[in-house]
């Protein structure tokens, strides 16, 4: 049996997933639009497209669940004792009994269903037309900014011109009578406009916009105040000035939102080598729930990023998906050995 032919596990699973998951995805889109229209919060003074994330996540979750459940129920190698499993064991080449190709077919089906959703739905939910990259700034030294350590350098790893500095430092206990920390920012030694607020609360956000310019390093100077500030890796970022296309962000989001489906099917393939189909299906569904709805992995950050207009094709977000990808890959490798041992 050819793995990737039209009648192999890839093509058969792809067609089956498209046939069954497309209506589920369409239902998810319709429900999301209805619910968004019903509960849209018109009252907020300013726009908050990120708050519409449940309505973008809903059709993507529907597609992912439909694809995973369809694949697990369709391909006989995802579970012991299923009708057709013996035929697959005899006829299907490969060390996973076609599970890998079925998994690939399922992911392609998910991509075909989710990409139009990621392209068409965010504008309707209020997402900005363009995305901008956020470059995490690297604090030098200990990351402490206080009266005793009044200068802190923040390296900007990207050469892209930036247009905004965003700071959200940790605030320590006051060293005297409480007074918010007044900080002045410099870009490559050149003074930027004063920050609009002093730092008084932990993780208090302060944003400073300035004309776009390439910056190698920002320097923060502690001018007055009684509270020390701590800058960790997530406390400072610079926003790039080059707008990125929406389709690029949709593609990046597609890759990131496909991770839970991949992990679920990989774990399902592993458990299915030694367990009954119901156990394998429950394992895959639980893994998908954790990844897509439970917030473990890059699914929800990707959905939020698309809606907030954050450029997703950055190393940081893909690095956040590395543990999930490693888990899925490891599960598939282990499944090969388990299958070989079980078949002996």
């Amino acid at each position: 049996m050819s793995a990737f032919g039209g009648r192999g596990p890839f093509g058969l699973t792809l067609r089956r997933c498209l046939a069954l998951a497309a209506p589920a995805t369409a239902l998810g889109v319709a429900a999301a639009l209805l619910l968004h229209a019903r509960w849209r919060d018109e009252a907020a003074v300013e726009a908050a497209p990120g708050a519409a994330s449940p309505w973008l996540a809903l059709p993507l979750c529907a597609a992912a669940f439909a694809v995973v459940v369809t694949t697990m129920r369709f391909w006989p190698a995802f579970g012991r004792g299923r009708a057709g499993r013996d035929w697959i064991d005899r006829l299907q080449r490969g060390r996973l009994g076609g599970c890998g190709c079925a998994l690939a077919g399922a992911l392609v089906a998910y991509a075909l269903l989710a990409l139009p959703v990621l392209l068409a739905l965010p504008p309707g939910l209020g997402a900005p037309a363009e995305a901008f990259a956020a470059h995490a700034l690297q604090p030098q030294g200990g990351g402490l900014l206080a009266a005793a350590a009044p200068r802190l350098e923040l390296r900007c790893p990207s050469g892209e011109p930036v247009r905004e500095l965003r700071l959200r430092p940790l605030v320590g206990l006051p060293t005297g009578a409480w007074q918010g920390a007044v900080v002045r920012a410099y870009a490559d030694g050149e003074a930027l406009p004063p920050l609009p607020a002093a730092f008084g609360d932990n993780r208090q956000p302060v944003r400073l916009a300035f004309p776009p310019r390439p910056v190698r390093a920002f320097t923060l100077v502690y001018e007055s105040g009684a509270v020390p500030l701590g800058f960790d890796a997530s406390a400072a970022e610079a926003i790039g000035s080059a707008p990125r296309p929406r389709w690029g962000n949709a593609l990046a989001a597609l890759l990131l939102t496909a991770v839970p489906a991949f992990v679920a099917l990989a774990l399902g393939a592993l458990v299915g080598q030694v367990s009954r189909p119901a156990t394998a299906l429950a394992t895959a569904a639980a893994a998908l729930f954790l990844g897509a709805i439970g917030g473990q992995g890059p699914f929800l950050p990707a959905v939020l990023g698309v809606l907030r207009g954050e450029w997703l094709a950055t190393t940081a977000l893909f690095r956040a998906g590395a543990p999930s990808l490693t888990l899925g890959a490891a599960a598939m490798i282990v499944a090969m050995f388990v299958r070989a041992k079980v078949q002996r």
Partner: protein, 259 residues
């Protein structure tokens, strides 16, 4: 007929009888559906609020908080906490101070309207919700320069506060509510004077002076009333010794208008 079928039939009949007896309205059905969905939806709603707060976007956090509080309509403290957080959050947008003050005004009025709508479900916690509403305008005006001017059309922060103190006093009459509003008069009068309404300020002081006769601690009320009367006379243009008033920090908001 098997026992299973009999059990299901009995359940259906019982449910139909209950529905016929209770005659639920669509609103009742919605309430029951919300109650049933609440345990499943709450963790995700909370996570959404936390994610917005981590991102540092107060507007998104407030919109998500509104969604969360639809599931918890009786939690008056939650309404107050989220409304304060939204109103007092630093303004991240650029713009002139007047534009920032105007945005804060819009946020304040939105938050007050939201808390006002929540009163219907607050039950025994309504007085504390009204108190939170009364304090919010003053607290916001302290943190945002120019907000007091932006609230001139509403009578200033003190008038907004007094409006809710009056509602609290009318809805839940008690010595505490009455005294709180009485002693708030100096600040309210200062707000009215800042808005250029001297006659209204004098009326407030005169009313407060009369109301202070009902205050339980008459020793405290007598001193306070004497200072109120002195301030009122000074505002009417009489030559009086304002030393005792300037020595009383409860009248600090009135000092600029008495000099």
């Amino acid at each position: 007929m098997t026992a299973g079928v009999l059990g299901v039939t009995l359940m259906v009949v019982a449910a139909a009888a209950a529905a016929a007896l209770a005659a639920p309205t669509p609103a009742d059905v919605g309430t029951v559906a919300q109650w049933a969905a609440r345990p499943a939806a709450l963790p995700f709603a909370w996570r959404g609020v936390r994610a917005a707060e981590r991102h540092g976007d107060p507007v998104e956090a407030f919109v998500r908080a509104r969604s969360l509080m639809r599931l918890l309509p009786e939690w008056a403290d939650g309404f107050a906490a989220f409304a304060y957080r939204y109103t007092l959050a630093p303004d991240l947008a650029d713009g002139a101070p007047e534009a920032r003050a105007e945005r804060t005004r819009a946020r304040l009025l939105l938050a007050l309207g939201w808390m006002d709508a929540a009163r219907a479900d607050a039950g025994r916690h309504e007085p504390s919700l009204l108190q939170a509403m009364a304090f919010l305008p003053e607290v916001a005006a302290r943190g945002q320069p120019g907000l007091a001017d932006a609230l001139r059309a509403e009578g200033g922060p003190a008038a907004l506060a007094d409006r809710w103190l009056a509602v609290a006093e009318a809805r839940f009459p008690s010595p505490e509510a009455g005294e709180q509003r009485t002693f708030y008069a100096a600040r309210l009068a200062a707000g009215l004077l800042a808005a250029g309404d001297r006659n209204a300020a004098l009326a407030v002081l005169q009313t407060a002076s009369e109301r202070s006769r009902a205050v339980r601690d008459q020793q405290l009320a007598t001193t306070w009333r004497a200072h109120v009367d002195l301030a009122a006379r000074a505002l009417r243009g009489e030559a009086v010794d304002l030393g005792p008033v300037f020595a009383d920090p409860r009248f600090a908001d009135l000092y600029p208008h008495l000099r």
